[in-house]
Structure formats: C-alpha cells, structure tokens
Symmetry: C2
Subunit: 320 residues, 2 copies
C-alpha cells in the first residue's frame, strides 16, 4: 500500500472590508468545504487571529482575510476551492493561489495540475508556472489575475523533505508511537515555545501538527514509511533558519525550499543550510500578485553502492 504525502495547497485572500472569514463563517461551513475534497475535520485550535483545523488529510488555516488549505493523498482540493468561491461574492475575492508539487504516485491521482487549472479558470483567469525541472522535483503554481498586491512582510516558508534517514523512518513508524513521543522527537520544546499545538498520530503511522501563536503558524505532515518517506513543513516562521535543526532530526536525502517574499533567499540559504547538501536547482520569480517566489532543491549525493528495493509480490497490494 502506498500513500501520496505530497500536498496540493490553496490560498484564498478576501477583502476584509466586505467579509470576515473568522466572523462570517462557522465550523459547519468549513466542514462542508473540506468534505468537497473527501477530507474531514479532526480537531481545531483558535486564537485571536487564526482558527486552525487539523484534517484527516492535512490542514486548513483561517484568518480574518485569508485561508490556507493543504491536502494530501488522493484528495481533489480544487473542489474545495470551487465550493468556497461559489459561496462568496466574486468582488470579495482578492486573490486565489493554487499549488501542486510533483507527486510520487501521480498515476493514482484523480486529476493533474492542468485539469485543476481548467476547473479554476471557470471562476477566475490566471497565470500558471512550473518551478523546477519536469524530470525532477518541481512545484506548479497558479494565481488569479486580480489586481491584488501582496504586502512585503507577508512571508511564507515551505520545507519539503524526501527520503528521511532509516533511523528517522524506523522511529516514526514504531507501533503505538504517541503524539507526546513524536513531539519529543521533533524537539518542539526547543523551537516552538509558546505555540498552541494540535496534533494527531495516525494508524498505523503518520503524523500531522498544527501550531499557532499570535500571528504565527506552522503545520507539519509526516509520511514516514521507509521507501517513500516525505515530511512537509509550512510556516510563517523562518524555515531556512530552522533548517539545521530539522535536517539534523530527519537527515533526508533531498529537500526543497519554497518561499514567498523571502527577500534574502540566496544569503540566508548560504548562511544556514548545511554544506553537505548541494544545490541542484534554483528558480526565482516576481509574480504579478506581488509575491517573490523562490524554489530550490538540495540533495546529499549517495555515493555508496546500494541494493535495489525488492518489491513484495504477495497479496493484492504490492508496494511500488
């Protein structure tokens, strides 16, 4: 059995003069919205600026003027976006951003990025880009053509770790591992002080976390199985500065960093990223919506000769 950890992500920004996503929409609305992509709400935490929902497949964050939703597996996130834009006056929508990274098991997906863009274009015209090579790690991004301009201090970081170390994979797939043990493994006490945590340990393994503190947020999703492991981080916290801690814990073979409005990408990655990872690919663009997007892929060359992975051909559900 395999599980597609790679997320689809949508961000929708609305005009807070016309609507408040925190006051004008209740939990029933968000439940119905996430149902559109075959996910459901597991739990939530709230503070004065954010309502954060942990989903059966990733996360939904709602602020006064925007929402961010990430879903993994075979969910059709674009249906949730469509549901939202149909419930809200068109004039209130300032921006729609839709991202999709290359998938491990693309074959099993119900749609591809192009299908999703065609569906979005029924509601809003836009531009679309591929950051990164087709044959390697890449991230697709669509944004609407509204005149919206992002504030320069509206900064987001994504860190996507592939093929974590055998130790990390072994630890994170232990039977009966609970959230307290996973929190300790990630050393949250060292780097998430003061955050309110909402997390879930899935059966037989897998872990999701939402964390909020004032205006800051972090979400982590862990697909730990040895032969297709993937751990994603998305946050307002500077994940480039936090990368040494994260990479020391997970020791992945490869990782991507994607940032929105990190203006010192080159200097910051040069300063903080461990030198045994080499930069493989680097893409940058100033989008029409005011976001400077950076994408970079790093890897640790594997020079030692390895054995191939033997596939188990017994039973009905072979692993790839």
């Amino acid at each position: 059995m395999f599980f597609e950890g790679s997320e689809k992500k949508a961000e929708i920004i609305i005009d807070a003069q016309q609507l408040s996503l925190l006051q004008d929409f209740n939990d029933d609305f968000w439940s119905k919205m996430v149902e559109q992509c075959q996910a459901k709400i597991l739990s939530s935490v709230v503070n004065q600026s954010c309502r954060a929902f942990l989903l059966s497949e990733s996360s939904l964050f709602v602020w006064q003027d925007r929402l961010v939703i990430l879903t993994c597996g075979n969910t059709r996130l674009v249906n949730a976006v469509e549901y939202f834009v149909k419930q809200v006056p068109a004039a209130a929508i300032l921006q729609v951003i839709y991202q999709r990274k290359n998938e491990y098991f693309a074959y099993a997906q119900p749609t591809n990025f192009i299908d999703d863009v065609k569906q979005l274009k029924r509601y809003t015209d836009g531009k679309a880009y591929r950051f990164g090579e087709m044959y390697s790690h890449h991230n697709y991004l669509f944004h609407s053509l509204h005149p919206y301009q992002a504030a320069k201090d509206d900064i987001t970081y994504e860190l996507l770790a592939y093929q974590i170390s055998e130790d990390a994979s072994e630890h994170l797939t232990r039977e009966g591992l609970d959230v307290a043990e996973i929190r300790e493994y990630f050393q949250f006490d060292k780097w998430l002080q003061g955050f309110e945590l909402d997390d879930f340990a899935f059966e037989p393994f897998g872990y999701s976390l939402n964390a909020i503190k004032d205006d800051d947020y972090l979400t982590i999703h862990v697909t730990p199985q040895a032969h297709s492991s993937y751990v994603s981080f998305e946050s307002s916290l500077n994940l480039i500065e936090l990368a040494p801690t994260i990479l020391q814990i997970l020791n992945p073979v490869s990782f991507d960093i994607v940032t929105f409005n990190e203006m010192k990408f080159a200097a910051s990655t040069e300063k903080f990223l461990p030198k045994h990872y080499i930069l493989k690919d680097r893409v940058e663009s100033d989008l029409d919506n005011g976001y400077k997007v950076n994408f970079a892929n790093y890897l640790k060359p594997q020079n030692e000769v390895r054995q191939p992975r033997r596939l188990d051909l017994k039973g009905e559900n072979y692993e790839l």
Copy 2:
C-alpha cells in the same frame, strides 16, 4: 501537448533448440504482436543474426533466441508480451524480463508497473525490484523465476539523458530537419562505422534509430521538446566508453546509466564519465537470472538562478 518519451522494455529469451525466432516467425507475427500495444512497424533491417524493426513507438529487435522490445508514449507493452507468451510453448520460454522507468507524465499512463506485473504473473512467477529512489530517477525490473542463467558476455548498456541543452533541443526541433541532418548531428560517422542504419524523423519532431552490425545493435529514441526532453540509448556497444561523445553532443542536465553484466561498472564510469557530472545515486544487484544489474544517476548541479516555466493556458491542450 506532451509526449512520454520514457520507455517500457521487455526481453524474452527462448530455447533455440525448440524454436527459432528468426525462422519460425514471420513479419505478420511481429506486426500483430506490436499491434497489441498500439504500435506499428514503420520499417526494418536484417542481417544474419538480427531482424530490427523500427516502430511508431520505439523498437523491436529479434535474434535467434531472444527479442527485445521498447515502447514509449502511452503504449501497453505488457499486452505485447502477453501475446507472445501465449503463442509459444511455455517450455520454450527461458526468461522474461520487463522494465519500466519512472515516467514524466505517469498520470497519463493506462497502467503502472504493479498493474503490469500482475498481468505478467498470470503466465510466470517472478521477482521485482526498484533501482533508484522513489522520489527521483528509478527503474523497475521484473524477471521470471525460470532456471535460466545469463552468459557473462551477454552485456547490455542503457544511457538515458534528461533535459538536453537548449542548443541541442533547439537543433533537434528544427522544422523540416531530415534524417541525414540528425545523423550528422549525432556524428554517427565517428562512432557507428559499418552499421546498417534504419531511422525515422517524426513530425513535428522526434527521431528514432535502429542500427545493426553483426551481433551488435544500437537503438536511439529522441524526444527533443525543450521542457521535457529525453533521449534514450540502448546497445550492446559500451555506452560508458561512448558517453563522453554522447554527453558532449546533448549536454543533458542529468542522465542514468543502466547496465547488464558490465563487470567493471565502477572503474569504467570513473574512467570515462566527465567530472562535471556528480554521481547522485548508485544501485547494484546480482539477479537470480545471472545478470549483474547496475543503475546510476548523474547530474550537473544548476546553480544559476532560473526563471520558472510559464505554462500556456490558451486552447485546450495546456503543456505541463
């Protein structure tokens, strides 16, 4: 519009005491076989040991005791394998090997490797492996459990080049480019002396070559479009020794080398491969059928900052 250049490949070895693939099967048979995977024969060349068919989607080589077939695009090669094994007494089949590399556009494939293996297992039990990481370049291989042992001098090389240089891509997508110009571009006069060539330039672009000389063979398939370019070489010729010439012409960002029974893989790659490519992944195994299989992925780090690829959202057929 996109085209999946990545090949599926099958090799079937039979008992030449019982059957001769050259004498007991006519062109009609091979036509019917390739029709099973929605390909057709374009042309062929013959010498005393081999009949080589150029297909609308790649190539079929037939020798006295074996066949090798490669098909790209959305073909279902496994159906051609099934057709063959149903026409031949089971006792005459000594070995079935089925390979499939990771695809650019896996989403558009009618089956995945596991589906194909399930279909093959109706006829022969086997073992299956993945060479290379799930999140990166990899090559799946299935082989049957017959007692066959490959001869040590039965050596095959594959060189798979990804994202060729802009110059090479521009040259190979020129309007009206003919086979003579492509032969010159690949400098075949320097390294294919004495080979009989059978090649085809597709519209609007794309190129396939079969070349035979005595017991030696080479096949090349070129998918040159700039944003998802891919060029594959398979041969009895030593493609590690030829790599400097090939890589100088195509200058790809990344390439894989896969070998069967190349016993000096480490020394030979160390000696011949240009040093500006770094070894990213290396897998080796001695299979039960007597083949030593090596897989290695190399890449040229891209440190310069690039622009993302803008996707054209006009019309019905967006490119990914």
